[in-house]
Symmetry: C2
Subunit: 410 residues, 2 copies
């Protein structure tokens, strides 16, 4: 086994040649030179070096310090580059050239793979929105009247999107319990996670021109895992009337790997049946391609599984979110990132936030080092996921992880 | 007069050498080469060419296609560059070199002068927030309980920030009157303005490290006028519970000129007295520099003045907004832009939105071409402003204007 070539990952490896997600890495030898990498098994191919070595015209897209040129290149280029990469890692004639360009994953540092333009976060799980509504508005309707008519979303802070592995400093801010006369200031005492999938826009669209449901694949390149860290106590005090702000803006973590949509053909699935008729720009009942993705997420805290949210249960699809986000004429830019919203399924162990899992702190989660309601300093949260691939092989979506460090003194 | 040198603007010109705002322009001869310009009277100095011609080391900051390097350079550089520019346009020995580098304003095209990183919009006028509360929650308290404890804000879409003069396409979207059974789709019928001042961040701050009140001047370079176009009908239906989204994200216009804070020393003024004690990170009572700016805004529709909002009446200051925005550890980037929120004074003619001026369409504004509640296609909205400068001379803040074009068919 120790002599096995990195070009021969084990059969059934979720990062086999059927997957080929993109990232950006540096090596210990050249920490100042970020480069595009493509994952194969537990190795990363220096894709730019491969393109150069093979005299490929795609060096213009791959021999770059970030994914942005590839993202902007469009669907035909995405397909052609993927075909080329598949050939490079599978055709025996390329073996000698390619093998030395594969770096062990544990010998490289992964970076945020593209410049995040605008970051939008949605709220697309009916189970999540229902749970949140029951927790915060126990006497009212769980879902707001607009929820089934449009995918609710808001803009987040793109400057604080960080790559998996980045430590997350516990945020401080104002909180106020309903019974308190005035707010108090201090480190958040309800630091939470939100297990999400993030969609990465490649091809821009002009201002004033909506992007139709059916044009999703022409604009969206791929997806990542996303953890939308949330300070529930800050959020609860600030969010009326203009929505979440500091409760979310301190950090959002994404996985280092962007999985192209083309690797997820076998994972496409129909979203749940809709209860109310949709306006035409959101009505996907006649779309050729099913709008959902069968992605199985696992959330761990300090290595212990706390939830297994099923992305297939999301009410609103990524294509609907894109159509909604642009129906007012808002333009898209390369690097726009939008989160699905917290993924929660119908079962208790499928809930994608501690808010839901502990019912806003009423219940505790048992970990080997003690119970938790919300996150403690030092906690490490990791989300992993996979989706069905061709021939029953899984497509790995990598992981997004982050460790909580204490709020600075003061 | 026709022979007057562009280096000699009329006495009292609000764009005299005491002002010197920065922008980015192209000429008809070289439309593909954006360059940094500094306004003097009705001319714009090609600042990079001037720096080159005079052998100035500031060519590295000025001979660039955007303001970003200057913004990032920091407070000492801002001061030194401003001193140099002042000398270039006032010292007789430079006249012969500088005069040919001044282009008439009407012969150049002004561009968005820097790359907008994150865009945040606040809600800092007590008069505005009170009016909005009375309109939308007539039976409740006008201000939400958090309003006087923290500057409420939210993230907007930075990708749709456009420079003054850019046409604004009327957005379409969902709206639903309370009595309607279901939402309808179509062009907004309540297209509005919000007269604001926008603050431009120059120097970044690291994630996890709040920026203190007193460090405002180390991070914020200057300000612009800002019109936060708002579709009130879209906003009303979508904004509960996560805040404004499509009602705002179609376009935000900013003036072409960024006025450095150094030009506004004489305009500093104390904010209104605060009604409730502030938490230490927001308490500016012991700050050396008064936190407000005495900026007088005029809003016109099709040339007719409809409002004169006084910025000096804003409850929350730009320094408080910056301290709040980062108190959770959110980082700053060069090019971050934050809007003050709609500027409304206590008087009816000081209200900075049509929502308030027409009391959500109950009243009409008379224009020569007919009455208005909200904006009609073809309407041109222009905001101008000035502030007190040294020796009683005004500091002009330029203008932000935009014309509404019809929503695309379909």
């Amino acid at each position: 086994m120790s002599e096995q070539s990195p070009l021969d990952p084990a059969e059934g490896d979720p990062f086999g040649p059927h997957n080929l997600p993109y990232g950006v890495f540096t090596t210990a030898g050249e920490p100042g030179r970020p480069r595009v990498g493509v994952r194969l098994g537990n190795h990363v191919l220096d894709a730019g070096a491969a393109a150069r070595a093979l005299g490929s015209p795609y060096a213009a897209l791959l021999d770059r310090p970030g994914l942005d040129p590839l993202l902007a290149a469009g669907r035909t280029a995405w397909r052609d580059v993927r075909r080329a990469l598949t050939a490079w890692v599978t055709v025996p004639a390329h073996r000698e050239t390619i093998e030395p360009l594969l770096h062990p994953l544990d010998a490289v540092t992964m970076l945020l793979p593209y410049q995040v333009a605008d970051y939008v976060d949605f709220y697309a799980s009916e189970h999540h929105a229902t749970n949140v509504g029951r927790i915060f508005r126990p006497d009212g309707e769980a879902l707001t009247p607009n929820w089934k008519h449009l995918p609710i979303g808001y803009h987040g802070r793109s400057g604080t999107v960080v790559v998996s592995g980045t430590e997350v400093v516990r945020p401080s801010g104002q909180r106020k319990a309903p019974a308190d006369a005035a707010p108090v200031f201090g480190p958040s005492v309800k630091l939470d996670i939100e297990a999400e999938v993030g969609f990465v826009v490649g091809v821009p669209s002009p201002q004033g021109r909506p992007v139709a449901l059916g044009d999703f694949r022409d604009h969206v390149f791929g997806l990542s895992l996303l953890n939308d860290w949330s300070a529930r106590d800050l959020q609860a005090w600030e969010y009326v009337p203009l929505g979440p702000f500091l409760g979310k803006s301190f950090a959002t973590s994404v996985s280092a790997w962007v999985t192209p949509l083309e690797a997820l053909e076998a994972a496409r699935t129909s979203p749940p049946a809709r209860d109310v008729p949709l306006l035409p720009y959101l009505d996907d009942s006649a779309e050729e391609e099913p709008g959902g993705f069968d992605i199985r997420i696992t959330v761990t805290v300090n290595g212990q599984v706390i939830a297994e949210p099923p992305f297939a249960t999301m009410y609103w699809t990524a294509a609907q979110q894109l159509a909604h986000m642009t129906v007012n004429g808002a333009s898209l830019r390369t690097g726009d990132l939008y989160g699905s919203g917290t993924v929660s399924g119908p079962e208790v162990h499928q809930r994608g936030s501690l808010l839901e899992l502990t019912w806003n702190g009423r219940d505790r989660i048992d970990l080997p080092d003690g119970g938790r309601t919300f996150l403690a300093d030092g906690d490490e949260v990791t989300m992993t996921a996979w989706a069905p691939g061709p021939d029953g092989v899984r497509v790995g979506l990598g992981e997004v992880s982050g460790r909580i460090t204490a709020a600075p003194a003061g």
